[in-house]
């Protein structure tokens, strides 16, 4: 009875080491990675960073999205920052958008700051987030541009 007990506790404490799986939780600052091999049919929601190297058929919402070279996204992307090196068919909406040379974008880009490298393929319109917000009649989601507008209004 007693010996069995000690044996059991001994084995249990040994189990994590023997399992070889590193138990410590990763810091959530590390990006989630959709590997080049992976195909996702569905939506992704992430409050952190997302790196896509594979295929996604669905909508993506995240704080930061990187669409790597060779990646294919079919669906809309909404994030704070989006970096595109791969191909995307769908709308991109983010305050900061970067489009690399290797990118292929088929769809609209709604942005606040946009950088496009020479050689990138763009097929769609580029609109400012503010003009989109004004067009839809809703107030701008980010309060940042408001003081500037005020200044302009009082100046004129």
């Amino acid at each position: 009875m007693f010996s069995q007990n000690t044996k059991q506790t001994g084995t249990q404490s040994q189990t994590p080491a023997a399992s070889g799986a590193p138990a410590p939780k990763r810091a959530s600052t590390e990006p989630s990675i959709i590997s080049a091999d992976l195909r996702v049919v569905g939506d992704l929601h992430c409050s952190g960073e997302l790196q896509i190297k594979g295929n996604v058929e669905g909508d993506i919402k995240s704080r930061s999205v990187t669409i790597g070279e060779g990646a294919h996204v079919q669906g809309s992307v909404m994030a704070d920052t989006v970096h595109i090196s791969g191909s995307i068919k769908g709308q991109v909406e983010a305050p900061a958008v970067t489009v690399a040379r290797s990118a292929r974008v088929q769809g609209d880009i709604v942005h606040q700051t946009l950088a496009v490298e020479a050689g990138a393929f763009l097929d769609g319109s580029c609109r400012h987030l503010d003009s989109k917000a004004a067009a839809s009649g809703t107030s701008a989601p980010k309060a940042a541009p408001a003081p500037e507008d005020k200044k302009l209004a009082t100046g004129a």
Binding site: A18, K25, E30, P31, L38, L44
Partner: protein
Amino acid sequence: MFLNIGAVRDQVAGRAGTSIWPDSADDTYTIIHDDLVIVGDLSTDGHIEVSGRIEGTTNSRSVLVREDGWIEGEILADIAEIRGTVVGAVRATTVIIGSNARVHGSIFHNALTIEPGAQLEGRRPWRPHIDRNQKTA
């Protein structure tokens, strides 16, 4: 008779002919952190590591569901290691259930390791051959 779980696991891993998990820098290594939720199906010939949440079917060569991981849907794999929560059937040649795992669903396996403490609900039928690319009822 007392079973050394670590030894069993190593033996099981050896039989599967892999050095357990591939290198995380590998091109076929997918990581789903705890801040990511996927509502949809995943398929790959590589490895999936899940600390986040998946609502859908996963089909991969190998899958590791960490303590924080949550999968609501079917798991199809050659090797499945479950240390988190799975609500749905698991179909894998080699299945390893960790001590903190919770599995609500049947586990179809050819070789099954269960560490003490795991919460399992469902049948655990043995199957001589499991082909993850051929979905069976």
